[in-house]
């Protein structure tokens, strides 16, 4: 088996705060190949964004402890120096943020901001960088790019800003693109356009994409593989089809049940997951989902509250749950049947 392009092994991100240590990510592993898209799903505070900030090395070094392994094309990022990371950021790996208006500098033109990344990594002149910026804007579908390049972010519409953001992230043809909820703030039509754009660009450049979202519909659209996070841990992994069609973890099941399905019967009521996300300062013992899990009492010996379920991945498929295979089949097959006629 060849080494994957991005390999995260047992990643732990712990913040020290005045109240104690927050275990934002607690032992996360995944691989990502070039040209593939990994969707990371989870509630707010599940560690999705923290994971990706750690990959870029943008965590606050004063209070954050990283542990584990992040290998990008064979290079260890956790022990890399700030200098080395600066070389990689925006160049080999880049990121698109959720709120494009807040994430673009209000004081610089769109062109200057795109060109800046290009100049930093290629040493191009201002003129070349500007031409490159125009070209990138054209590629992401901004009309009249040679004119709009001198606009400021506030003169762009929401969708255009996100396109500009993508242009900025892709200006150096990165091999890894991390998209942190890039479509959450956009309306659905624009959202669809942005997704199509990302897919096109991925095909063109063979970029590996990590797509963070809490929107399963978006995942269904763009991801190849899906990783479901809960309380800083991965609870389920598999291909998009496996996770969305035949979930193996009660949390994934809960997520799916709380959103309407277009192709399923309309009379199935939505059932939200009870309770609220766990405190990462003082997380629940055993399985972190057990206080909210509808099936916890089915597990013999109260195992859910005492022992952390292991995540065993076979052929990229697995879930961390104490339910026996029989119990799972009983619970999840019923769900699958209800969703698909």
């Amino acid at each position: 088996m060849s080494t994957p392009f991005l390999s995260v092994r047992d990643l732990r991100v712990h913040f020290s705060t005045e109240d104690g240590v927050v275990k934002a990510v607690d032992g996360l592993s995944f691989d990502l190949e070039k040209g593939k898209t990994l969707g990371i799903v989870g509630e707010s505070g599940s560690g999705k964004s923290v994971t990706n900030m750690a990959i870029l090395g943008l965590h606050d070094r004063r209070n954050t402890a990283l542990d584990g392994e992040i290998l990008l094309d064979g290079k260890e990022l956790i022990t890399a120096t700030e200098r080395e990371l600066e070389e990689l950021r925006g160049n080999t790996m880049s990121m698109i943020f959720q709120d494009a208006l807040a994430s673009l500098s209000p004081y610089h033109t769109i062109g200057a901001q795109i060109g800046e990344t290009y100049r930093k990594h290629t040493g191009a002149s201002k003129k070349e960088a500007r031409e490159r910026a125009v070209e990138m804007l054209r590629r992401v579908g901004i009309p009249q790019p040679d004119i709009r390049v001198d606009d400021y972010p506030h003169q762009f519409s929401g969708g255009m800003r996100q396109r500009a953001m993508i242009a900025m992230a892709l200006v150096c043809d990165p091999e890894l693109l991390i998209a942190d909820e890039p479509t959450t703030a956009l309306d659905v039509t624009v959202q669809a356009q942005i997704m199509d754009l990302l897919k096109d660009l991925q095909q063109e450049f063979g970029t590996a994409i990590i797509f963070i979202t809490h929107d399963l519909g978006v995942i269904a659209d763009i991801a190849d593989d899906v990783l479901v996070m809960y309380g800083g841990r991965c609870v389920e992994r598999g291909t998009k089809k496996e996770v969305l069609r035949t979930p193996q973890h009660p949390y994934t099941l809960g997520l799916l049940s709380s959103m309407p399905s277009l192709d399923g019967p309309v009379d199935v009521p939505l059932s939200p997951i009870p309770g609220s996300p766990p405190s990462l300062l003082n997380p629940p013992s055993g399985c972190r989902f057990h206080p909210r899990c509808a099936f916890a009492e089915k597990v013999a010996g109260g195992l859910c509250s005492t022992e952390r379920p292991t995540l065993e991945i076979v052929d990229g498929r697995g879930s961390a749950c104490h339910l026996t295979p029989e119990q799972k089949r009983e619970i999840f097959d019923g769900f699958t049947a209800a969703r698909t006629h």
Partner: protein, 344 residues
Amino acid sequence: MPPRLLTPYGIRQENPTAMFRFLVRRTLGAAVIMLIISALVFVLFYAAPRDPARIACGKVCTPETLALVRKNLGIADPLPVQYWEWLKGLFVGREYTSFGHCPAPCLGYSFQNREPVLSTILDRFPTTISLAIGSSVVFLIFGIGTGMLAAVKQGKTLDKVASSASLIASSMQIYVVGIFATYLLVDQLHLLDRANYTPFTEDPAKWAAGLLVPWLVLSLIFTANYTRMTRSQMVETLSEDYVRTARAKGLSRRTVFFRFAWRGAMGPIVTIFGLDLGTLLGGAIITESTFSLQGLGLLSVKAVSTNDLPMLLGVVLVAAAAIVVFNIIVDSVYALIDPRVRLA
């Protein structure tokens, strides 16, 4: 759609007509403000229980002499008439029975020393300007510099020292620090010159030497404010999303700090500085009296204590004009710093 201006890369140009309209509108607004201020000073002056004519008349004062003095001082007429005369003098000049013609812009004659107000103000203004500009340079350099340093070293010893020092400095009083500084630096250590004013045009070196102590003392209090403001603005800007984006682009901490965060922190600092400079140009009363510098501050104090209405009006008007003008400048500069601000 208006024609697009050719802009240099990354720099925005304000539409000239918009800029012009902005300036016209603000200037008109400023004129109205000055009108109101001068009228207020007029009213307040006469609301005071002292009669300037009674004071000028002397100890032995018959009703006839008093009436004559009134007439001579130009305060025999009803208030609105007086105000109108004064206002008219500003634009067309004014005839005085005792002094003769006072050319426009005429601010009248001082009750006290019988000299044209304008020439006295013009005589004192350079001292005040020198004090204001010199101390501004000092407090901007030290204030912003220390604030930036504290922001870089946020939470570290240097930050704590700078923050505490600025808190102590901001609670100092000029008349205490001024006297102490003069005693220590001038009398004891002979490091600096005693405060005095030499016109810049006469001898720049002496001008600077004579004002150095007042500059340092006056800027001490301001420095502290600017340190704290710069620090908090920088820290706030550094937590903005676009700063994180800049880091995600691969820009170094230093580049981010000076190219992005600085820009965001500048706005509020420019605003406060505009107001401070306007105030300083109206005369730094305490500093001027501490160091016996004959600027507008001392002049206004004297005008109040001697019931000298024309002088008081003149000084207030100059001070108000300074503040209003710098407000307009601040707003224009703000539009240059922040492209989201429209001069509309």
